[in-house]
């Protein structure tokens, strides 16, 4: 399916999604509460069939956080990028571990580095950082470490 057909399909599934095409792949911006139903439909609809989540990350814009999901379909070979804005002080979004099993480790990593709370995650705890680093979110822009980090 090319971008036009995907746009029509997404508009059917979730009319409130904002679609933009400025980067090389089709990008949609959604609210964080709409993510889980949309993800299920993206995975299970036969024409879309996005079965491979290849990148899950978070970007810290200083006023808010943005979750970025890169999805592709191994059957139809089309790609989609889903973005969702989160509030900085109370960042929470539903987990998609039941849909794409690779999200389990990726979401743990985003939890410990950025502080995003994934609701109903089977095992949300520190993965890469040592014990005692809960609460310090190193990859946020306001992470203070006067010993090690030199501010340019």
């Amino acid at each position: 399916m090319n971008n036009e057909q995907i746009k029509i399909a997404i508009a059917d599934l979730l009319p409130s999604a904002i679609i933009e095409e400025s980067s090389e792949w089709l990008t949609i911006h959604i609210e964080s509460v709409d993510w889980l139903p949309l993800a299920e439909k993206l995975r299970n609809t036969a024409e879309l069939y996005f079965d491979y989540l290849f990148c899950l990350t978070c970007v810290d814009w200083k006023s808010h956080l943005t979750m970025v999901y890169h999805l592709t379909s191994t059957f139809h070979r089309h790609t989609l990028v889903v973005k969702s804005k989160l509030d900085r002080d109370d960042a929470r979004i539903e987990t998609v571990t039941m849909i794409w099993r690779t999200a389990e480790f990726h979401e743990r990593e985003v939890y410990e580095l950025f502080g995003v709370n994934f609701l109903h995650h089977p095992d949300l705890r520190l993965l890469i950082l040592p014990d005692g680093w809960e609460g310090k979110y190193p990859l946020r822009k306001d992470f203070e470490d006067p010993v090690n980090i030199i501010k340019l």
């Binding site: 400025s22 980067s23 090389e24 792949w25 079965d51 491979y52 989540l53 290849f54 990148c55 990350t57 970007v59 810290d60 970025v68 890169h70 191994t74 070979r77 794409w100 099993r101 690779t102 389990e104 480790f105 990726h106 089977p122 095992d123 705890r125 520190l126 993965l127 890469i128 950082l129 040592p130 014990d131 190193p138 990859l139 980090i149 030199i150 340019l152």
Partner: protein, 380 residues
């Protein structure tokens, strides 16, 4: 700041633990874990009930560090991430910067980059073969593997200046031109390696003990491989067609003749066979290219200080372990705002628990050997 490590005595998570279960810790310092990986295994007798990896023993905060490095400097840190396919990682980063700047790479540089990529892939698979055979119990292949790797390291050293972490790619091309002896040395290597690959097959692939240890061990199905995000030779052994060089070709891969190796069995032996066949394919790619290196510039003209336009860019390349992705978010400055490296080992490791449940503890080493982890790639 440094406190005693805790020996893990209870598993975390929600799986039920019977009273007859035993918890053992493997690693972080262990000869068979290919780096510093700490596994907490719940055993019932000899059968594994749960494998829980604890990562972070080599977490060097590369993503945070790259936010203060310029676009020319951050490429070389990725050499140290997956150090066995260091040139391929550098190639991916340079492609991302070039895509953002819309820079055209001269054909000579593209061919040289692909040649170095494939030689690196052969070196990585050779070391994997030696290390995997050593894990399973055969000690001789380790020394044979390093003999071939030394020939490739010599070629790399004369061309790029370093044996392992060669800093050879710059945005726009390669750093220096090839030296005049390059073609002759690579041709000598090809002639030598062709006979050695058959020797490797005779020594290990047809061995009865090896087959008993790897056939039907560590099965993963095609849907599970896609769902867990497994890429590279480990996924191609389960039937997933995911070679980035074929699906989304970059550099000169669309003009080359090579096959994508796919097996359907999904066990350790299939993963082994895929990598052995990939070595032969890489050798044929090097043969096709070594006589046809075009003349011309080896580097496109760029400014000294690179500034990427505002936006986000994603590039993917096929390393020896799977799909390596570079995601740059740029705000228009001289340093990136956020870089994310999608490393292949991270997703491959998340499938280890699923693969290893129900098998015996002795099979765990064979499974980890064929999944081919490099732990600094996972921890970044």
């Amino acid at each position: 700041m440094y406190r005693e490590t805790e020996i893990i005595k209870e598993p975390s998570g929600n799986d039920p633990v019977d009273s007859g279960d035993m918890i053992i810790n493997i690693g972080p310092q262990h000869p068979a874990t290919h780096g510093v990986l700490h596994l907490v295994i719940t055993l019932n007798g000899e059968t594994i009930k749960k494998v829980e990896p604890h990562l972070g023993y080599i977490h060097r905060s590369i993503e945070k560090m790259c936010e203060s490095l310029s676009y020319r400097q951050f490429i070389y840190i990725t050499s140290r991430m997956d150090y066995l396919s260091s040139h391929i990682n550098n190639h991916g980063c340079a492609l991302c910067v070039e895509k953002a700047l819309q820079l055209e790479v001269p054909p000579r540089a593209q061919v040289v980059r692909v040649l170095m990529d494939e030689l690196t892939r052969i070196a990585s698979h050779t070391l994997w073969w030696g290390a995997m055979a050593m894990d399973v119990g055969a000690l001789t292949p380790f020394f044979l593997a390093f003999r071939e790797r030394e020939m490739i390291n010599d070629i790399m050293e004369e061309t790029c200046g370093a044996r392992l972490t060669m800093n050879y790619t710059v945005p726009g091309g390669v750093m220096v031109d090839l030296h005049p002896e390059f073609q002759r040395k690579v041709k000598d290597f090809i002639a030598h390696f062709k006979s050695k690959i058959d020797e490797y097959d005779e020594l290990v692939t047809d061995n009865v003990i090896f087959k008993n240890r790897t056939v039907n061990v560590g099965l993963i199905s095609k849907e599970d491989a896609i769902s867990y995000g497994v890429t590279g030779p480990s996924a191609r052994a389960s039937g997933v067609s995911c070679d980035i060089r074929k699906l989304y070709p970059y550099a000169v891969y669309d003009k080359l003749q090579f096959e994508e190796i796919i097996e359907t069995a999904g066990d350790s032996f299939a993963r082994y066979v895929v990598r052995m066949k990939e070595m032969r394919q890489s050798l044929s790619i090097v043969e096709q290219l070594i006589d046809n290196i075009p003349e011309g510039d080896f580097q496109a003209k760029t400014k000294a200080v690179l500034k990427l336009p505002k936006g986000e860019f994603y590039t993917r390349v096929e390393t020896a372990r799977g799909e390596f992705g570079v995601y740059i978010v740029s705000e228009g400055g001289t340093t990136p705002y956020r870089i994310k490296f999608r490393s292949p080992g991270f997703s491959n490791l998340s499938a280890l628990d699923h693969i290893a449940r129900g098998s015996k503890i002795g099979d765990l080493v064979a499974i980890m050997g064929t999944l081919d982890f490099v732990i600094p790639d996972i921890d970044r």
